[in-house]
């Protein structure tokens, strides 16, 4: 025990295991304040830890059931005629290729639209135009995917796809275009950030050498921002792969699907396969391994988007570090 000079000190000493600390306690201030600090710090740390816990919980939940699926399924069923989980046909090709087709169509739409919008807003538009148009692009980003799904089904499919080709009402092309529209604001936002991160001095140097605005944009600004643009496209693909509602509503194939490579026909993606299974007749009960297959597909999807996001994130940070 130290020397309890006053009540205040003895409280402080109690708080610190009763060791003699009188001199430092004087400097450290009111022990009640210190204890409160410790409590608050502990609470805040717990909150931060909880966010990590969410990540861990996702991975564990997915791996647990996915493991049950992998160990119990017959491997021939994973490479069979189609994706009919309720009848124990789990052809992974069908839904992975469907996902790739739709994400591909989406990027064909989102790349020119997103990059064009970003380049125009960042490089050509007057500040006034920018102030008006940019929030409108942001509104597009705030539209829920279920609304775009409805739009893809009732407008894009009949007015765009079926006008150009003979296609089923439910087709992968309309879903792909819908997903592309959904991804466009994301591509535009990340690209615009990258373009704005290019220092004005680079542009001024280019003008100083006699280059015009167009030359400056194409030969100086875009090359300088290329890693940000790559990041925008990678994150766009990741978002397109994970998009659910547009595909579930516009691509059809609610029950299951045969392997389908024609984008004008209904098709199934990994995400839509999951919703179809979850809402079909009576929840996920289904036969045999249908419930477990949900988690297997989820794990596959999680892994694909995680890899893309990590790569995209690398590119984004490269932009930030360079300038």
């Amino acid at each position: 025990m130290g020397r309890p000079v006053s009540r205040r000190h003895s409280i402080a000493e109690a708080a610190h295991g009763g060791r003699g600390l009188s001199a430092s306690v004087m400097l450290a201030g009111d022990p009640r304040r210190r204890r409160k600090e410790a409590r608050v710090r502990g609470f805040l740390f717990a909150a931060a830890a909880a966010t990590v816990l969410v990540g861990v919980a996702i991975v564990l939940a997915l791996i647990g059931e996915a493991w049950n699926f992998v160990t119990q399924v017959e491997f021939s069923k994973l490479w069979s005629l189609g994706w009919f989980p309720r009848r124990d046909f789990f052809d992974v090709r069908t839904i992975v290729l469907g996902t790739i087709i739709i994400a591909g169509i989406a990027m064909v739409v989102a790349t020119p639209l997103g990059l064009g919008a970003a380049i125009y807003l960042s490089e050509y538009a007057s500040p006034r135009t920018r102030r008006i148009l940019k929030p409108i692009v942001e509104i597009l980003a705030g539209i829920p995917s279920v609304v775009l799904g409805y739009f893809a089904l009732t407008w894009i499919s009949p007015n765009v796809v079926q006008r150009l080709f003979t296609a089923n009402t439910f087709n992968m092309a309309a879903a792909g275009i819908g997903v592309g529209v959904l991804v466009t604001p994301l591509v535009a936002a990340v690209t615009e950030d990258a373009l704005r991160a290019v220092p004005v001095s680079l542009r001024e140097a280019s003008y100083g050498l006699g280059a015009r605005r167009g030359e400056t944009v194409r030969k100086v600004v875009l090359p300088a921002a290329v890693s940000g643009i790559v990041a925008a496209l990678i994150l766009g693909v990741s978002r397109a792969i994970g998009e659910t509602m547009v595909v579930a509503m516009a691509a059809g194939a609610t029950g299951g699907s045969l392997l389908q490579l024609n984008p004008l026909e209904p098709g199934q993606t990994m995400t839509a396969a999951m919703t179809a299974l979850a809402i079909g007749s009576d929840q996920v009960a289904g036969s045999g391994l249908a419930f477990q297959s949900l988690f297997f597909v989820g794990l596959l999807l999680f892994a694909m988007t995680l890899i893309l996001n990590v790569i995209g994130d690398r590119f984004v940070r490269r932009v930030r570090e360079k300038y």
Binding site: R34, T51, I58, L140, I143, P144
Partner: protein
């Protein structure tokens, strides 16, 4: 090489200095980017026009009645009341759970944690969580949260697939977004404010509580409102956590029954109506429900913009 300033030379030099006229390629590129922008905006216009045109008959004939009547099997009397109640309750659960937790986590990461390997790991983890597809959060809800809610005795008549589980699933979904937007808001508060408060003897929590958080509040609020709007419009995870896609959503009764019973949400109503074989549901009621959804979301966005503009501060 005398000072040969004959007229032809002078004309040639002057022409060089003026430059060629802007080439075809130059303006074509600018035009292409403009077309990209206009197409994105055009899609928005087409979408809104399509929705409003579809919703028109319901809006004009039913008016406010559509918002205040419950879901029904008959297209003439079906309304979106259950959906609105469900969505509002879900959003409240999200707000109560995700916002305090997310803000606290962000305060820890930005104000307290040293820039160490574990901190960076948490930050990377949060960024990656924000990019996880929403349907995967639905699986988390189905595999973990529903069971947890049931185990805690809040499963009710819906076997755990109720608003509590749905709200917690959405809360987990938006948590990383809350952390990221709050972190950005905190980072924008200049270090000078913190140093001044430390200088007069404040503790770290006092600095955070009385200086940093109030300064960052408008930006945090803006982010929060947008996040809640995001949760309000989310559909896919709710389908996995049992939002009714049929017409058997409950409603009415006591609050506890509503939280623990079967439920539906506005975006889920849109989804299930657009799947109905009855044309009136798909072509008239679904766009009307979308219109209600968009109006509510637009109001939230407008509120966020107003908060941002009211409190815009330059340091």
């Amino acid at each position: 090489m005398t000072a040969d300033t004959t007229t032809p030379t002078r004309i040639a030099v002057a022409a060089k200095l003026q430059g060629r006229r802007v080439g075809w390629g130059e303006s074509a590129f600018q035009l292409a980017t403009l077309i990209g922008l206009l197409l994105s905006l055009g899609v928005l216009v087409a979408l809104l026009a399509d929705i409003v045109a579809g919703a028109w008959s319901v809006v004009t004939t039913r008016g406010a009645d559509f918002v205040s009547t419950p879901i029904s099997l008959s297209a003439d009397t079906a309304g979106v009341l259950n959906g609105i109640i469900g969505s509002v309750l879900l959003t409240i659960v999200v707000a109560v759970v995700a916002i305090p937790l997310g803000i606290a986590a962000a305060v820890y990461l930005e104000e307290y944690a040293a820039d160490t390997r574990p901190t960076r790991f948490i930050q990377t983890n949060v960024r990656n969580l924000a990019g996880v597809p929403s349907i995967v959060y639905g699986l988390l809800g189905l595999g973990v949260i529903v069971r947890l809610v049931t185990a805690l005795g809040a499963g009710g008549s819906a076997n755990g697939r109720n608003i509590i589980a749905g709200g917690l699933t959405l809360a987990v979904l938006v948590l990383p977004i809350v952390v990221i937007t709050t972190s950005e808001a905190l980072r924008a508060v200049p270090a000078g404010i913190r140093e001044a408060a430390y200088g007069v003897g404040a503790t770290q929590w006092e600095v955070t509580r009385h200086q940093v958080l109030p300064a960052a509040l408008p930006a945090i609020l803006t982010g929060t409102v947008l996040t809640l709007a995001r949760a309000f419009g989310e559909t896919a995870p709710l389908l996995l956590v049992g939002a009714a896609t049929g017409f058997f959503a409950t409603g009415g009764q006591g609050l506890m029954e509503q939280l623990s019973g079967t439920y539906t949400a506005l975006p889920v109503v849109v989804y299930s109506w657009s799947r109905q074989p009855d044309g009136a549901f798909r072509d008239e009621l679904a766009p009307a429900a979308i219109l209600v959804l968009l109006v509510l979301l637009l109001a939230a966005n407008a509120a966020a913009i107003i908060i941002r503009n009211r409190s815009e501060r330059k340091w």
